[in-house]
Amino acid sequence: MHLATYLGLLHTSLRSLAAAFREVAKGHGDEPDVQHTCTVLASRIDAQTEKLGPIVGRYGEDREDEPERLHTAEFTETRSGGVGLLRDLQDLYALASFTDITWTVVGQAAQGLRDKELMDVVSSCEQDTARQLAWLQTRIKQSAPQALIAARG
C-alpha cells in the first residue's frame, strides 16, 4: 500500500506550506493584511499537521522531498514591491494547490479504506485549504492591475 508515501508527501507539503506562509508574512510586513492573514493561515496549517498525527501513527509515512524542492525553489527569499508581492502570493497559491490535490488523493484512499476518521480529517482540512486558495485568489486579483499597470520600479 502506497498510502504511507502519500501521507509523507502530505506531511512535508503541509510543513513547507506553513513555513512559506510565515516567510511571506515576515517579508511583507508593510502589507498588514497579508502579514496577519498569512500568520493566521500558517497556524491553521499547523493544526492540520496535528490532525494528521494519529493517521500517520496508523498507516506510517514515507517522506519524499518533492514539496521541499518546490518550496526551496520558490522561497529562498520573499520579493519586494507590488509585483514582488504578487509573485510571492502566486507561489503560495502553487504550494497550496499542491497540498489541496494531495488531500484529495488521500481522501480518495480514505474512502477506499472506509476509514471514517481519515475521511473526517480530510473533509475539514480540505475546507481549510479551500479557504487558503480563496484568500490568495482574492488578494491576487485585487493586487494584479495596480502592480502590472501603475506600479513603479
Partner: protein
C-alpha cells in the same frame, strides 16, 4: 438653551453640564414627547430671526431634524423640529453649539496653491487648471489607476453620487473610498454578510417599543446624545426596558445598564460566541423561523459550541454569571433592539463580531418587528449616503461589483462602456489607497471634507505619504486643517447651511437640508467643485454628450433616484418637495417585515466573504447555496488579536469620542462652549493602574506605542484595569500617533481599539 416656556420647564438648562437635557419619560408604546431645544447667538431673540430654514443636524449619525435661524444673511442659531420623527425637537450639545458657530470663523474663502513650498491664495481658474493639468497628464501617462479619491461621511448624497459617477465612469478608477471606512465600513459589511445588502433593519421608534436594549461597543450616551435621551426617557418611564451594555469602559451608558459586560479589547468574537451558545443551549431559538428564513444554523451551532461561559470568561475576563444573565435577557425578552458601534467596528474581528449580533436576532426571529431589530450604527451624519451613492468602495445603489448585470445596468444608465467601470475586484478600500500612494502608484489623491492627517492610524506615516514629492494632493475643505497644510491645492468649500442637499441617517431617514445663507468669499459647494472638475475634464458618454447631465443639487438627486430604482435603497418615492416637511425613511419604517432578505443572487449587493480571511465567495459558490431570500448565519471562531500587551508595552490603548467634539474638531473647536468643555486631549486610566504607575489626576504622562507617543494629562476612572482610553479628536498630541496600520479582513476598517502602549510620568 432649552426653550423652557413652551414645554413647562421653568429654568433654562446648561446643556454642557446636562448633555441629554431634561427628562420627558414615556412608557412602552407611547409616543416620545416633543421637547424643543434651541440655541441663538448672544443678543438675538426669536423675534429677531428673519427666517428659519429646514435642515437636519450633521454632527452625528442621528440626523436630528432642525431649523437654521437666519438674520441679516447670517446663521444665528438653530432649533430642533418638534414634528421630526428622529428627535421630536431635541438637539444635543454638539448640534446646539457646534452646528452654526464655526461658519463665520477662519474660513477658507479662496483657493490655495503651493508655490515655493508655501500655500498661497489664488483664483479658481488657476487652481482648477493645475488640478486638471495634473489629472490629464497622469491619465495619459499611467491611466486611471494613478488616481485616488478619498472622501467623507459629511457631504450630501448629491455630492457623493456626482463624485461616484466622475470616478467610476469619467476616470474609471477603482480607488475611491470615504473616511466612512474608519467609522461605518463594518456596519455595511455586517449587513451585507448577513442580509445580502446594506440598510439598517430597525428604526428609532423601536426604542419606544423594545423590552430589552443591547448596546455593543456603543457609547450612545456620548456619540448620539439625542438617541440616548430617548433611551433615558424609556428607562425613567413605566415598563422600562432592560439594558445590556458591552464596553470595556464604564461609560454613562454602562452605568445605566442592568448588565454591563466589559470584555478585554480584542475579544468581542469570543463574547458573542458565548452569548450565542447560551441562547442555543437554553432553547431560546425560534427553530421555525431559523429553518424558513436562514442558512447556516448547524455550522453556527458547531462553531459556538466550545464557548462555554467559563471558556469565554477566561478569554474576555468577564464574569460567567454576567454573560449568562445577558444571554437570558436576550433569550427571554419579547422585543429586543440591538445597536452596534465602534467598540465592535474598530476592533479585532470586527465584521465577524457584528455579524453575531445579527445572528442573535435571527435565532429568535427578532427582526423587522415592532420593537425588535438591529441598528448597525453609522458614526457620521451622511455615512449612509457615501455607501449608497458609490463614493466609497461600493457601486452605487448597493450594486454588486461581482455581478456583470449590475455593472451593465450602471453602464446603461450612464451611457458608458461597461469596461470603463472598474469591477475586476472589490473597489479599493481606503487603507489600500493610502498604501498605493505610499508606494507611488497612486500619484493624484483628491481628499474632500475629511482630515486624514488626524483621523487615520499611524499619523507619522500618513504625514510622510502626504509630503511625498510625487503625490499630488488636492484637499477640499471649509477650513485650513492639518491635512490642507500638506496639500498641493486647497479648494474652499461651502458648509452645511450654505448649500442644498439631502442625507440619510442611521435609521434610513432622509432629510433635505436647504441653503440658508451664501458661502463666504469664493467658497463653493462640494457639488459645484465636482461639477466644475467634470466640465473642465470634459468627461463624455458614449454619444459624446457630457457624462454629468445635471447642474444643481435637485438635478443630481433626480439622477440618483433613477440610479436607485429597483434597488434596496430605492429613493424614487421621495422628492425635494416631499422632504420639505420632515424626514422620511427609504424602505419604510422597518426593513424585512416579511422576513424576506435581499440575498437573491441576482439582487444581493455582495456574494459575501470568509469572515476569518476576507476571501471573497465566488458567484458559483454563492448561487450553489440558493439563499433566495434567506439570511446567512455566518460563524467564526475567535482568534487572538494581532497586537497584544507585552512587557515593553503592557497596556491596551483604545481611542474614542468625547461628547463635546465631532471628528477632528474643525467645527466643534470653533464653538466656544464645546471648546471650553474639552479643550485638550487626555488619557483615561483605571484607579488601580494609576496607583501602580504613581500618577494622580491631572499629572502629565507620556503614552507611547511602537509607532509614536503623546504627552497628555491623566484622568482617572471608567477604564477597566490594563486598558487606557484616549479621545481621537485632537490634532495635537493626537491619539492616532499611537495606532497601527491594521484592519479587519472583511470590512477593512482599521483597528483603532487595540494598540499596545506604555505609560510613564513626565
Amino acid at each position: 438653551m432649552f426653550r423652557a416656556e413652551s414645554f413647562g420647564y421653568r429654568h433654562p438648562v446648561d446643556r454642557i453640564a446636562d448633555v441629554w437635557g431634561p427628562r420627558t419619560p414615556h412608557g412602552r408604546g407611547a409616543d416620545w414627547p416633543a421637547r424643543v431645544d434651541q440655541q441663538l447667538a448672544d443678543g438675538v431673540s426669536e423675534s429677531d430671526v428673519d427666517r428659519w430654514v429646514p435642515s437636519a443636524c450633521v454632527l452625528c449619525s442621528n440626523g436630528c431634524g432642525c431649523d437654521i435661524a437666519v438674520k441679516d444673511g447670517k446663521i444665528v442659531g438653530v432649533r430642533g423640529r418638534a414634528e421630526d420623527l428622529v428627535n421630536r425637537g431635541r438637539l444635543g450639545p454638539k448640534g446646539l453649539f457646534g452646528s452654526w458657530q464655526a461658519h463665520g470663523k477662519e474660513r477658507l474663502t479662496r483657493p490655495l496653491v503651493r508655490r515655493g513650498g508655501e500655500l498661497v491664495e489664488t483664483g479658481w481658474d488657476t487652481a482648477m487648471d493645475l488640478v486638471v493639468r495634473q489629472s490629464r497628464r497622469l491619465l495619459e501617462e499611467i491611466g486611471p489607476l494613478s488616481h485616488g479619491f478619498y472622501t467623507s461621511g459629511q457631504l450630501f448624497l448629491e455630492e457623493y453620487y456626482t463624485l461616484g459617477v466622475i470616478g467610476k465612469a469619467g476616470i474609471g478608477t477603482p480607488h475611491m473610498d470615504g473616511n466612512t471606512r474608519l467609522c461605518t465600513a463594518t456596519a455595511a459589511a455586517a449587513l451585507k454578510e448577513t442580509f445580502g445588502a446594506d440598510g439598517q433593519p430597525a428604526c428609532h421608534t423601536d426604542i419606544d417599543l423594545c423590552d430589552a436594549l443591547f448596546l455593543y461597543g456603543h457609547n450612545m450616551a456620548a456619540t448620539q446624545t439625542v438617541m440616548w435621551a430617548r433611551v433615558l426617557d424609556r428607562i425613567e418611564g413605566p415598563d422600562r426596558p432592560r439594558v445590556v451594555v458591552v464596553d470595556p469602559r464604564t461609560t454613562p451608558a454602562a452605568e445605566a445598564a442592568d448588565v454591563h459586560l466589559a470584555p478585554l479589547p480584542g475579544t468581542n468574537q469570543a463574547l458573542m460566541n458565548g452569548l450565542l451558545r447560551a441562547v442555543i443551549a437554553n432553547g431560546w431559538v425560534d427553530h421555525d423561523y431559523v429553518s424558513h428564513h436562514t442558512l447556516g444554523f448547524d455550522e453556527l451551532k458547531a462553531t459556538v459550541e466550545p464557548y462555554t461561559p467559563q471558556h469565554v470568561a477566561e478569554i474576555c475576563r468577564v464574569s460567567p454569571a454576567g454573560l449568562l444573565r445577558a444571554a437570558e435577557i436576550f433569550g427571554t425578552s419579547q422585543r429586543v433592539l440591538s445597536t452596534v458601534l465602534q467598540g465592535f467596528y474598530q476592533s479585532h474581528q470586527a465584521t465577524a463580531a457584528s455579524c453575531q449580533v445579527n445572528n442573535l436576532h435571527l435565532l429568535r426571529g427578532l427582526i423587522g418587528k415592532p420593537g425588535s431589530g438591529v441598528l448597525q450604527m453609522n458614526g457620521q451624519p451622511t455615512a449612509q449616503n457615501t455607501r449608497e451613492a458609490g463614493a466609497d468602495g461600493d457601486l452605487p445603489g448597493f450594486r454588486n461589483w461581482d455581478n456583470p448585470d449590475h455593472v451593465e445596468e450602471l453602464a446603461r444608465l450612464w451611457n458608458v462602456d461597461p469596461l470603463t467601470i472598474p469591477h475586476w475586484a472589490p473597489p479599493t478600500h481606503a487603507m489600500q489607497i493610502w498604501r498605493y500612494a505610499e508606494q507611488g502608484s497612486i500619484m493624484f489623491l483628491w481628499i474632500s471634507a475629511t482630515n486624514p492627517a488626524v483621523s487615520l492610524p499611524e499619523l507619522a506615516r500618513i504625514r510622510r505619504i502626504l509630503r511625498q514629492d510625487d503625490l499630488f494632493v488636492v484637499a477640499q475643505d471649509a477650513f485650513r486643517t492639518e491635512t490642507t497644510e500638506l496639500a498641493d491645492v486647497v479648494l474652499p468649500a461651502a458648509m452645511w447651511g450654505e448649500k442644498t442637499g439631502t442625507f440619510t441617517n442611521l435609521s434610513r431617514v432622509v432629510h433635505l437640508s436647504e441653503q440658508a445663507v451664501a458661502p463666504p468669499g469664493e467658497a463653493r459647494s462640494d457639488l459645484d467643485i465636482f461639477l466644475d472638475y467634470a466640465r473642465r475634464m470634459d468627461f463624455r458618454d458614449r454619444d459624446g454628450d457630457p457624462l454629468i447631465k445635471w447642474t444643481d443639487a435637485e438635478g443630481a438627486f433626480k439622477a440618483w433616484q433613477e440610479c436607485s430604482r429597483g434597488r434596496p435603497c430605492d429613493y424614487t418615492d421621495l422628492s425635494y418637495d416631499k422632504l420639505r416637511g420632515s424626514g422620511i425613511p427609504w424602505g419604510g419604517e422597518r426593513l424585512y417585515t416579511d422576513s424576506v432578505f435581499p440575498t437573491h443572487a441576482d439582487y444581493c449587493e455582495d456574494y459575501g466573504h470568509d469572515l476569518l480571511t476576507g476571501a471573497s465567495t465566488t458567484p458559483t459558490d454563492y448561487k450553489a447555496r440558493r439563499p433566495d431570500g434567506r439570511a446567512f448565519l455566518k460563524a467564526a471562531e475567535y482568534t487572538p488579536p494581532p497586537e497584544v500587551p507585552s512587557d515593553d508595552y503592557p497596556f491596551i490603548g483604545t481611542t474614542g469620542r468625547s461628547v463635546y467634539h465631532f471628528h477632528t474638531r474643525t467645527k466643534t473647536k470653533r464653538a466656544p462652549e464645546l471648546q471650553k468643555a474639552a479643550p485638550q486631549p487626555w488619557v483615561e486610566i483605571s484607579a488601580s493602574d494609576a496607583a501602580d504607575l504613581g500618577v494622580a489626576e491631572g499629572d502629565l504622562v507620556r503614552v507611547e506605542s511602537s509607532r509614536g507617543g503623546v504627552e497628555v494629562p491623566v484622568r482617572i476612572g471608567r477604564c477597566r484595569d490594563g486598558v487606557v482610553f484616549l479621545p481621537f479628536h485632537y490634532g495635537f498630541q493626537a491619539a492616532n500617533e499611537l495606532t497601527h496600520t491594521e484592519w479587519d479582513p472583511v470590512s477593512k476598517q482599521p483597528l483603532y481599539k487595540l494598540s499596545a502602549v506604555r505609560i510613564r510620568k513626565v
